[in-house]
């Protein structure tokens, strides 16, 4: 029996190949692991990006959906002045004669003491008095409020006219403005 070969065979034929294999496999697994780790980070970023894309798509859809209304409101807010308000009132009361509806007074203040008082959005307040019939008044207010959605009713007082022939209306509106 010879002992010369056993150790070299064990070292070169067994231990070194195993160690080299382990190192190689370990290196590959380590590299794969680092790629996986990097991929996971990129995946997270990608997911966030996709999520953001989906969110933007959704937001765009929502903005597009709102576009028409918002444009209309922007136009309204940009173009409406006290002068145009009078014109709207005239248009709203055109269908009625003097007996049915007559505006008796109108006054503006540059701030709101009503609904607009606790709100950051600038507003003004308009007080208008009318004499007329109930239905004419209701019809006129409907026309006016439909054309000017910026108007929010703060108060409405209604009482018979002194001569008993009509009804006196006093309305106070908060009107939302841009400034």
């Amino acid at each position: 029996m010879s002992d010369y070969y056993r150790q070299p065979i064990a070292v070169f034929g067994l231990i070194i190949p195993i160690v080299v294999s382990v190192i190689m496999a370990g290196s590959v697994l380590y590299y794969t692991g680092s790629v996986k780790k990097e991929y996971a980070a990129k995946q997270k970023e990608y997911d966030l990006s996709q999520q953001a894309k989906r969110k933007i798509k959704m937001l765009r859809g929502q903005v597009n959906e709102n576009r028409e209304s918002l444009d209309a409101w922007d136009d309204l807010l940009k173009t409406e002045t006290r002068g145009t308000f009078l014109q709207h009132w005239k248009d709203a009361s055109e269908d009625f004669n003097g007996k049915e509806l007559t505006k008796t007074s109108r006054s503006w203040i540059n701030f709101s003491e009503g609904i607009g008082k606790g709100v950051s959005q600038p507003s003004s307040q308009v007080v208008m008095s009318f004499v007329g019939t109930y239905r004419a008044m209701q019809q006129a207010l409907m026309n006016l409020e439909t054309q000017l959605p910026t108007m929010q009713l703060d108060s409405l007082d209604m009482s018979p006219e002194d001569n008993g022939k009509g009804v006196k209306f006093t309305t106070t509106y908060t009107v939302w403005t841009l400034r």
Binding site: M1, S2, Y4, Y5, R6, Q7, P8, I9, A10, V11, F12, G13, L14, P17, I18, S21, M24, A25, L29, Y31, T32, V35, Y39, K42, Y46, S49, A52, I56, L59, Q62, V63, N66, L70, W73, G114, I115, K117, G118, V119, S120, Q121, Y134, M137, Q138, Q139, L141, M142, E145, P149, Q152, L153, D154, L156, D157, M158, S159, P160, G164, T171, Y173
Partner: protein, 588 residues
């Protein structure tokens, strides 16, 4: 260049390379025969060296129980490698062994035999196993005579199982190393041909001792067996149980077939062992005429019985041809103790189990063994190969796995994705939406004059039983905590006149349920959600206070309402909390 160097001269890597080369270029890794004893192989050539003239050769195939004479090789031919190679090739062409993968060559050394005593320090039979190994490795340390040559002779131990206590328990047996080179040459031929040739050099007289149970029985008086060879006669003395007590060797005078004065020699030894009338059995191992020997011995030892053993009969009893050497029976046949009772005693049991009689005198030197890796080395090498294959497979799998993983990941959309800053666009869009929600909230139909008038008109019955004197409606914001939203309250204070029917109407409609129904009706007819009563964040309270009309005048109707007997004050309050959809968001 390193092929013929001893491994001690090689560095570890060269030693490994040699192992690999041996494994690749020879059958030593696959063929077990390289590591087996010659006697264990299926095909064997038995060579009987009876004198200096040469050897008689016999082919033996164990599996087919074939024993056939091949011919003779003379002394000169035994030293010629080419002849030996040719002889083996021809022998292996024999029909019965054509497909063999290995060959055992067994030399029976009958040309020389000598005995020597052990040193006086070796008195304990328990030491036998250690002494046996020591006798192979360093015979001088064991022998009594330190001047004996260990270069020209090979020494082995042989035990005396029947030795009395205090007497010699073993002896040293020597044979000439003269033919060891022939066996080495045969092994080299095998190495060169990548064909396992295993060799064995047996002492023919020791093999002959193994034959004793075939022709002898135990005798109370003891017995002596004489094995007659060409140049010497071996005397074996057995006690009453048939156990070997001692061996004596007597050389023959020049040209004689018998030793001189053998009778007195036997008598002297027999007397020493107190054997008065031993049985004397004589066996001619090489065909010498010894018929007169028993008579001669009986004259020297009166009362003893002499027998000449018939060698031919022994061979025929074991189905062997009469030209086969007798020793072959001891080497190739199992001696059944049931048929031959003497085989069951201590001496022959020990021979059988420990193979004392078939010891290899010409076993290869350590230097020769060192030239090739042994079986366990080959096993480690093979195991290493398997491990490397598995490791290669594992690495391949890991590489494929890694490459697939890396490839799929590197080529994916995720890997190549270039991050885009969505924040600005998101902020812009969110701002747009917030602006929409801001205005949508502000512009909600939470308080409209025409809807308010619709409610008042629905409260007033159409049959004229109720007449309104005044209506006051106002809306006030209600801040709830820090929610950032504001609820609001709408209040209607309606003062009017009514007759009894009108009061009945009012009392019927101006309950909580009645007012809620009226609000629902207003909400449905005007599509104004602010009047929906059933939402959880809203409540409506109502109070009706009827009373007599102080200005009632049944006769004069100058004053408004004087025709109605009753007056009333109706107060309706609708509260909308900050949690309601109608709540104002953009509060300070």
């Amino acid at each position: 260049m390193t092929e013929h160097k001893h491994p001690s001269e090689l560095n570890p890597y060269q030693q490994y390379r040699r192992s690999v080369k041996v494994a690749k270029s020879t059958s030593r890794m696959k063929c077990l025969a390289w590591y087996q004893d010659a006697l264990d192989l299926d095909v064997q050539i038995h060579c009987y060296l009876k004198d200096d003239s040469g050897v008689d050769c016999y082919l033996h195939v164990k599996s087919g129980d074939v024993f056939e004479k091949l011919g003779a090789i003379n002394a000169a031919q035994l030293e010629q490698r080419d002849f030996l190679e040719q002889f083996i090739d021809e022998a292996l062409e024999h029909e019965v062994c054509r497909s063999t993968k290995s060959l055992g060559v067994i030399f029976y050394l009958a040309d020389d035999f000598s005995l020597a005593g052990l040193g006086p320090e070796f008195k304990n039979p328990i030491e036998l196993p250690n002494l046996r190994q020591k006798m192979c490795d360093a015979p001088k340390e064991v022998l009594d005579d330190k001047t004996i040559s260990t270069d020209t002779h090979a020494w082995r131990l042989f035990p005396y199982a029947g030795a009395a206590a205090g007497t010699e328990f073993a002896t040293a047996v020597a044979v000439s190393q003269h033919r060891s080179e022939t066996l080495k040459m045969l092994r080299e031929i095998g190495n060169d041909k990548n064909f396992p040739i295993r060799t064995c050099g047996l002492s023919a007289p020791l093999c002959a001792i193994g034959l004793v149970p075939l022709f002898a029985t135990a005798n109370q008086e003891g017995s002596v067996c004489l094995f007659n060879y060409h140049t010497f006669t071996l005397m074996a003395f057995f006690n009453g149980h048939g156990d070997l007590m001692v061996l004596r060797n007597m050389p023959h005078p020049n040209g004689a077939t018998l030793p001189a004065n053998i009778g007195p020699a036997i008598q002297a030894t027999a007397t020493a062992f107190e054997m008065e009338k031993p049985d004397i059995r004589v066996l001619s191992m090489v065909g010498n005429d010894i018929q007169s020997l028993p008579l001669m011995l009986q004259q020297s030892i009166p009362g003893s019985h002499g027998y000449v053993i018939n060698a031919h009969e022994l061979l025929e009893n074991h189905a062997l041809s009469t030209d086969i050497p007798l020793e072959c029976i001891a080497v190739t046949r199992e001696i059944d103790p049931e048929l031959y009772p003497l085989a069951a005693n201590e001496t022959f049991t020990s021979l059988r189990e420990d193979c004392w009689h078939v010891q290899d005198f010409f076993s290869p030197h350590q230097e020769e063994l060192d030239m090739y890796p042994d079986r366990s080395d080959m096993k480690i090498l093979r195991f290493g190969r398997r491990i490397r294959k598995i490791a290669a497979l594992v690495i391949a799998c890991v590489l494929v796995y890694g490459a697939f993983n890396v490839f799929t990941k590197v080529n994916s959309d995720v890997w190549n994705h270039q991050p885009i800053d969505h924040v600005a666009e998101t902020k812009k869009l969110t701002g747009e939406i917030a602006r929409f929600e801001h205005w949508n909230n502000l512009l909600m139909d939470r308080s409209k004059g025409w809807v308010c008038l619709e409610l008042v008109s629905l409260i007033t019955p159409a049959d004229g039983s109720v007449s309104l004197r005044s209506v006051k409606h106002n809306v006030t914001l209600r801040k709830d905590g820090n929610s950032g939203k504001s609820g609001f309250s709408k209040k209607w204070v309606i003062i009017g006149y009514a007759n009894e029917l009108g009061i009945e109407h009012l009392e019927k409609d101006c309950t909580s349920d009645g007012i809620s129904k009226l609000f629902l009706k207003v909400a449905q007819s005007t599509e104004n959600a602010a009047y929906l009563p059933e939402l959880g964040q809203r409540d409506i309270t109502v109070s009706l206070a009827p009373r007599f009309n102080p200005s009632y005048n049944n006769y004069s109707r100058e004053n408004a309402g004087s025709e109605f007997t009753r007056m009333f004050t109706l107060t309706i309050t609708q509260n909308i909390t900050a949690d309601d959809v109608m709540a104002l968001v953009a509060s300070n």
